[in-house]
Amino acid sequence: MTADTRVLSTAQHVGSRALDWLDAGRRNGFGRLPDNTVVDLADPNDAYKPLGELALAASLVLRDGVAGPGDTRTARGLLDFAWDQVRAGDLLYERQLRHLTTTDPLETYAHFARADYRHAAMEELLDSLGRLRAVHAVEAEPNRRLAVANARRIVGLADRPDWAALAAATWLGATPEPWAVDWMTAYRITHTVFHLTDWGARPDGLPEPVHAYVRDWLPVWLDVWLEIGQWDLAAELLAVDACIGEPATGRQGWEALATAQHADGLLPRDSEPVDADPAHAFRDHQHTAVVGVVAATITLSRALGGTPVAT
């Protein structure tokens, strides 16, 4: 793969600083679950979705092995922290036990399992649930079905999903008019690519018409969302570019993110003012930091030859 070394150096710098910012937040006590968290989490998005995203970023740093020793140590520390927060998997297990068709425990667990943080009872439970017709009958958006299929693949469960059919049912699978994309659809697109390629580990995971379609239009989508300062979505699009093999965009995206990044490493989600309260700022912008780490990690990993994954 041809690599623009300036892009790689910018990506590495942005990602490393975002990782440090996440770690500084953790050390300041941000991102912890409330002490009274019980299994019936009213709003998993608030309670532990961010922890799962933290685990995603840290586990990819460890999986791809392209970070320096300092960033690797930081990623390990963040995973330990997040694993401790979910009580070494017990919290995910108990939630999955009670809500058999809920997918967030599985999806969160997959990020830990990727880095070999395992919970035997959880895996036995997931394996069992996979044999229920009810679990597969849940009505979900096609890109969400891909999220579940990829999570089960990462955990190593025995299912053999029909990837082609799952891909064909998504927005991307239809290769629609590229100018009809809106902000929410763009996020669905990025996640379809993440799950089909297992976050860049399988660049061939996109079926060919979709692969060509993404290469054709990704530069357009990146351009328009950079223009209006949607840094979070732009970072997701840069991650997509790294997931599909030879990059389709140039320096524009990474240089814009580097310019938008604050001195302390905070990567703002958009061009709105950042809340002066550090706790609020952490809550508002932690997702963008995670995306920045993910995008930088996959960008470096693909440029350096990629990470083979067991099939």
Partner: protein, 293 residues
């Protein structure tokens, strides 16, 4: 006649809009309205000053629309002179006979509003042009197109030689490598949409043939940025490339349809759409929607 207090710019813009409407009507064969295929009908349909001369705003409008004034003649399928008509005996000829009031009007407009002095950048490849020269280059190519079509009429002299340079995609000298520059290039090509007419061909057309993906990206970008006139002009280039036999990565008709339904509704934009439609689909058939499906 201008209303008291009407700013000159508004008056000129209104004149452009009126002339675009007449050209559009002629192109679409709207029954009974001015047909540019009939000599002098356009002039007869326009206001004149008391001394019989064509008012300044009308000439300015002709200057703005330039080559598009010939669109009705170039696309008129019943005319054996239509270069797209397979029955046209001149099809393989570079000479497209044109005549009538459009030519007279355009020639007069070019006399009253001459092209910018040729002392601007000559496209010399020895150094990077300053950005302003990109704009001069656009004007130079628009002029070339007007003169190339006029040269087929009794009102034009020798066709002007094409400008020495073309707006090029790709990085500017000194800028980083990478697929960055389709954005600026596609905007330039949109400004050159009057070149996307049958009967015209040259280095700019060669670029359009070679960079249909960049044109398509520019179209999608303009749609997403709600810059629908730029989108219409780029869709016209895509339609031209399609008529030239190039495969496209973007379906053009949904773009035309979307702009028709949500655009500014101006005659200038509708004229771009109508020309794109004719390039894609040929003359309208009875019962067919105006925008292709």
């Amino acid at each position: 006649m201008p209303f008291a207090g009407t700013p000159l710019r508004d008056e000129y813009a209104a004149a452009v809009e009126r002339m675009a409407r007449r050209t559009l009507d002629a192109l679409q064969g709207a029954g009974g309205t001015a047909s540019l295929t009939e000599p002098d009908e356009l002039l007869a349909s326009l206001p004149t000053d008391p001394d019989g001369s064509v008012p300044g705003p009308v000439l300015a409008a002709a200057r703005v629309l330039g080559p598009d004034l010939f669109a009705p003649q170039l696309f008129n399928s019943s005319s054996p002179l239509n270069p797209l008509n397979p029955l046209n005996p001149f099809r393989e000829s570079t000479r497209v006979p044109l005549d009538g009031s459009a030519a007279r009007l355009l020639a007069e407009a070019r006399r009253v509003f001459p092209p910018p002095a040729a002392d601007s950048w000559d496209g010399s490849p020895t150094g990077p042009p300053p950005p302003a020269d990109d704009a001069n280059l656009v004007i130079a190519w628009q002029d070339w197109a007007a003169s190339a079509l006029l040269a087929h009429t009794p009102y034009g002299g020798q066709a002007a030689p094409p400008p020495a340079a073309v707006p090029r995609p790709g990085p500017r000298p000194g800028s980083p490598p990478g697929p960055h520059d389709w954005q600026a290039w596609s905007v330039r090509m949109a400004q050159l949409s009057v070149l996307a007419l049958p009967g015209l061909d040259g280095p700019v057309h060669e670029l359009a043939r070679a960079h249909t993906l960049d044109l398509a990206r520019g179209t999608a970008r303009s749609m997403l940025r709600r810059d629908l006139r730029t989108a219409a002009r780029l869709a016209r280039w895509l339609a031209w490339a399609r008529a030239d036999g190039r495969p496209l990565r973007l379906e053009v008709w949904p773009v035309l349809e979307r702009i028709r339904l949500t655009g500014d509704g101006s005659a200038r934009t509708l004229l771009e759409l109508a020309i794109a439609d004719r390039l894609l689909n040929g003359p309208p058939e009875p019962g067919r929607a105006r925008t292709p499906r």
